[in-house]
Symmetry: C2
Subunit: 356 residues, 2 copies
């Protein structure tokens, strides 16, 4: 399969949606992205694993990063794509192949942007942080991410979304003692004990702190549960994997301490953590971009790689087509008008006269 | 690996324990059993899958079945075997390689039993009923199981245990709606809903009906739980697999109706069911055996294949070495004296003058 960057941005989004790229299976799509960009003389390409970086090097006074991830969550009966009444349906149409299509179109067509641009198309954003292609790049090739400002094209209804919530995954476990189920009184059932964990999750009330005028909204959810030895054996272990989404006024350390207190009495192991990012709307680079594209900024609930840019000292915002509330849902879909508008706004920003 | 039937019954038990045979992986052990019995002229062998049947055909007025299963539950850090102070430790030492060893010794050594004997060594007793070797044999070769009486050598402390409880496995499921965990209010979490299932299991009070003077003891346990889509997605399904052990005064149909009522409001699917067996202590064949081996009969809590014999109209009891309370536990062990005693009592019964 190959990608046709001469197609318009909507058709290109559709090609991307129909190109399967579940997390850890992005290699074919990364190959296609690399092949499609290779013919463009104004771009310098770097391939790292399944991440493709394309840079202009025009000596502009300012450099920006435009980034998007290639992977999607698992299919949920929502492939192939379907374009109907100006709405594109399908896996990844929102999260985030519309944004990737915009990035690819800009990379191919803007041979003389007024700001130098580093385009980053990376893998494994939808799974544990250890796999994240942008995270790996920030360790192995940090110079490729140096910039004055970064735009992450995560879905944001084509409006600027600022900051992001952190995310932490923990395993909460119970233990018991195996015995034959016909003589259950000889053992103790670890799955039954997990009722207490689920009861706490059901009683959870989310925090909603307001930061820089934006209201965040935390969340605490079991994402996996597993336990069992055999059909006639009392299980001696049960594990509930919990995902905590925390507002950016809480650090990773504070999030962990709060979780350990919330699940007091149970064994808790942290398996994955990524800090949030404060909105940072007061920074000059953020202000300039806000003025260029217009609209009111909103808080970002989902964790996004803006926090990686924040950690590198690069101001960053989320800005991309699609309603983030539809991400990861079977009925994921995007209005094509939003994809087109994002492209136009970024083309205008990168072509304006008074840049830098 | 091969088995040495010339070894004494304790050494033979040890050989069997050290011969791995987890359910569905019994082929090598069935091969070894078949090879060890093949040289004996007084036995007629039939191999069906991983079940080995060995019959005498001496024209005796009475025929009895002596049966045992070859498989074990999964290993739990309890291999290889260890013989210490007259106690044999290891996986299957109780359930039920001691009984299998007794059956193999009787088959090899008793060339002229006073009752014709059908020895049955079968596979897949520890898992879902559909796999059970004795069950398959009763469908494909029912004539091989025709008899006046059957002894199933399940662990019973070398005492006669009568009847058995039935067993049923069901899947109790919850459903929800997927959404990104960062925006949990857009979906609903199926794992959280499973709290209600676990709460009912924790509130369960077992029935203990008395039948023919024997007190049974029911049980209701989650044996598996599973749910989850991805680490950042609200799960849309959760399944708790429950094993119900019911006293033999309840039929399979009554057990199912009770479960559906107990889990009212949840989706319930029956995946596996085997009826119990009433003690049947008033039948003449059971009485004769009781007199021969002595001791007070006790109720059998665990489901055993005596119910298959009951269904075929063959009176049957459990009688074998080992404490059934230790079955499926990591510390499974048996006093070798019990194995020896079982062998001696059955040799005496099959050698007595006034048989028939």
């Amino acid at each position: 399969m190959s990608l046709d960057l001469a197609a318009d941005v909507v058709e290109l989004t559709r090609q991307l949606v129909d190109f399967p790229s579940e997390s850890l299976q992005e290699e074919a799509l990364a190959d296609a992205v690399e092949a499609a960009l290779r013919g463009h003389a104004h771009l310098e390409l770097t391939r790292v694993g399944n991440t493709v970086v394309a840079r202009t090097d025009l000596g502009r006074p300012e450099r920006v990063v435009i980034a998007g991830h290639l992977d999607t969550v698992p299919e949920n009966g929502n492939l192939p794509s379907r374009l109907e009444d100006g709405v594109l349906h399908g896996l990844g149409s929102v999260d985030m192949k519309g944004g990737v299509a915009v990035g690819l179109k800009l990379a191919a067509s803007l041979t003389q942007p007024v700001r130098d641009v580093t385009y980053v198309f990376y893998d494994a954003e939808e799974i544990a942080a250890i796999h994240n292609g942008l995270g790996k790049l920030s360790v192995t090739h940090p110079h490729l991410l140096e910039a004055d400002f970064a735009i992450l094209m995560e879905p944001s209804n084509a409006l600027v979304e600022a900051g992001c919530q952190g995310t932490m995954r923990i395993e909460v476990t119970t233990t018991g003692e195996r015995a034959h189920t016909a003589r259950a009184w000889m053992g103790s059932n670890a799955i039954h004990k997990a009722a207490g964990i689920l009861d706490r999750l059901n009683a959870y009330q989310p925090r909603k702190p307001v930061i820089d005028g934006l209201e965040y909204h935390e969340g605490l959810n079991a994402v996996f549960v597993s336990g069992g030895v055999a059909g006639n054996v009392l299980p001696d272990a049960c594990t509930v994997t919990v995902n905590y989404r925390f507002a950016p006024d809480r650090s990773v350390e504070e999030a962990e301490a709060w979780l350990r207190s919330f699940f007091d009495g149970y064994a808790v192991t942290v398996t994955d953590a990524s800090p949030g990012a404060l909105p940072g709307l007061t920074r000059p680079a953020a202000q300039a971009f806000l003025e260029a594209v217009g609209g009111e900024p909103a808080p970002k609930f989902g964790w996004t790689d803006v926090s990686r840019f924040s950690a590198l000292g690069v101001p960053a915002v989320n800005f991309g087509p699609g309603d983030p509330l539809l991400a990861h849902k079977a009925e994921e879909h995007v209005r094509v008008e939003e994809i087109v508008r994002c492209e136009q706004q970024l083309v205008a920003w990168l072509s304006e006269e008074d840049a830098g």
